[in-house]
């Protein structure tokens, strides 16, 4: 295809970096994958053998597969909580009566993520301390959001529904790219970012009520290499299938700094306030327009950070921030996968790197 588009694509491509050793790295990666695959096959075979041997004995002990639990020995069931939270039955419902956000007496707030599994804050309802919270939002949200706000790829949309005593509902619309702030018919609001942050904190604080403090756990330790994330762990029960974000407020943490992702060169402890700021930022905070690129020092190779956060129950989460060529990626989840830092952007980096004063 000989086309002006071809010329433009060719002219646009930068000069490649130094790719020395690429073949060796690819080969090493391939060998590592092969080893992992073999290990997985052996493990699966072992599990299958154990299951085949053990299942007949287990079935015999229970008196047959279809017997079910013995009512006499079954543990008493605790009463199930009210499955119907206040407000719309679920986030898909559209409120039929729109409330007056400026004057209504708020009785509940519901966070409705639109991003499916991309959302780090799940569908939750908050009912305690709502009046003061919403009063603060009224003064913080203001129209006149004039400057252009380009869309950010990967931004997750959300709706914050505010229910009032008279049964009406107002909806605050926003996304983690901080572009689409609106409430009611008012398009273009500023301050939605801080509303998101406050609600994220409030939901976690409400979830923490009544949760017993975890057993004293071993100190959070930096992994040997930044690439060893995830190091998600709990002294008693590793939440391997837990989400990438703590559900409760962070009560402390550690920031480990690495040079070129080699051995940790230093680490700092985070107090509860800073740790919670990092957790909230990680939930999908907002970035100034321009966002994907974050200044990240001028040295090459640039440092990497591993952040370990812990909550009151003793659960912990880890994530990694790695940067190359002034580009930063966030690795989280299990297994850790790279993702856009954009929304968290500067706020998250400031909280993490700022801990180094």
């Amino acid at each position: 295809v000989n086309d002006p588009l071809s010329d433009r694509l060719r002219d646009a491509v930068p000069e490649p970096p130094d790719l020395t050793g690429l073949a060796g790295r690819a080969e090493a990666t391939a060998r590592r994958r092969r080893r992992h695959r073999r290990t997985a096959v052996v493990a699966a075979a072992a599990i299958a053998v154990v299951a085949a041997v053990a299942t007949p004995f287990l079935v015999a002990d229970r008196g047959g597969v279809s017997a079910g639990p013995d009512p006499a020995t079954a543990s008493p069931r605790t009463p199930a909580p009210d499955p119907t939270p206040p407000g719309p039955a679920d986030c898909a419902d559209r409120p039929s009566v729109h409330g007056d956000f400026a004057t209504g007496t708020a009785t509940w707030v519901r966070f409705c993520p639109l991003g499916g599994d991309a959302a780090l804050v799940s569908d939750q309802v908050l009912t305690d301390g709502i009046a003061g919270l919403v009063d603060g939002w009224r003064s913080r949200l203001s129209t006149g959001y004039a400057h252009s706000c380009p869309a950010v790829l990967g931004a997750v949309g959300f709706r914050i529904r505010v229910g009032f005593a008279d049964g009406t509902v107002s909806v605050i619309r926003g996304d983690t790219g901080a572009c689409a702030g609106a409430v009611g018919q008012h398009q273009g609001l500023e301050g939605v970012a801080s509303v998101f942050d406050e609600l994220t904190r409030g939901l976690a604080a409400a979830a923490a009520e009544g949760v017993p403090a975890g057993e004293p756990t071993t100190p959070l330790r930096c992994p040997a290499r930044a690439g060893d994330v995830p190091v998600t762990s709990n002294s008693s029960s590793p939440p391997a299938d837990a989400g990438p974000l703590l559900d409760l407020p962070a009560t402390g943490g550690v920031v480990c700094r690495y040079s070129a992702e080699a051995a940790p060169v230093s680490h700092r402890s985070l107090d509860a306030e800073t740790a919670e700021s990092v957790r909230v930022a990680l939930a999908g905070s907002f970035d100034a327009p321009g966002g994907g690129y974050v200044r990240y020092g001028g040295t090459r190779p640039q440092p990497a950070f591993v952040v370990l956060l812990r909550d009151a129950s003793g659960n912990s989460r880890a994530f990694r921030i790695s940067g190359r060529q002034h580009r930063v990626a966030l690795f989280r989840g299990s297994p850790a996968a790279p993702g856009p830092l954009g929304k968290a952007g500067e706020q998250l980096l400031y909280a993490v790197t700022g801990s180094y004063g």
Partner: protein, 168 residues
């Protein structure tokens, strides 16, 4: 005999073609570091098959296919990269024309992974529709559809808007 020990084998191939692969990967990802990761991952997938595939003279096509399929799978894992609103001031000026590079990144970022791959393979790698279909593992008709939709999208971008102004 390990592939890496074969004179002129896998290592020689990477030395000869690594930079070209990186350029295609940059167009797919729009990011230098991700491009390097993508090339390395594609090569790692292709390495175990080097002896067999290279004997047929089709290792280049094999690696190219690994490149685009790996890119598509990364996209499926929600790696989106970010869309810059303006070139950052502190970013090294790797491209000869940073503004053009920025326009290209913005324009390609709006395409679906398949559309983007079709554009890169057709306009950068100079593959035919049949070769593109083979690289993507889809039909020629599907390539034509992705191609048409990609161009329709690019016409609305600064990248092709200027081009159309030049030709009218």
């Amino acid at each position: 005999v390990p592939v890496s020990e074969v004179p002129g084998g896998f290592t020689a191939y990477v030395e000869a073609r690594g930079r070209a692969l990186w350029r295609a990967a940059w167009l797919l990802t729009g990011d230098p570091a991700l491009a390097e990761d993508l090339v390395q991952t594609a090569l790692a997938k292709a390495w175990p098959h080097y002896d067999r595939v290279a004997a047929n003279g089709s290792f280049e096509a094999y690696v190219r296919r690994a490149l685009v399929t790996t890119y598509a799978s990364w996209w499926g894992r929600r790696w989106r990269g970010e869309l810059p609103t303006e070139p950052p001031a502190d970013r090294p000026a790797l491209a000869a024309d940073p503004e053009l590079a920025h326009d290209v990144r913005r324009a390609l970022a709006g395409l679906s992974p398949r559309q983007r791959a079709v554009v890169v393979l057709r306009y950068f790698e100079d593959l035919t529709e049949t070769e593109t279909a083979a690289a993507l593992g889809c039909s020629v008709g599907s390539v034509k559809t992705h191609h048409a939709r990609a161009l329709a999208h690019l016409r609305g971008s600064a990248l092709l808007f200027d081009l159309e102004e030049e030709t009218t």
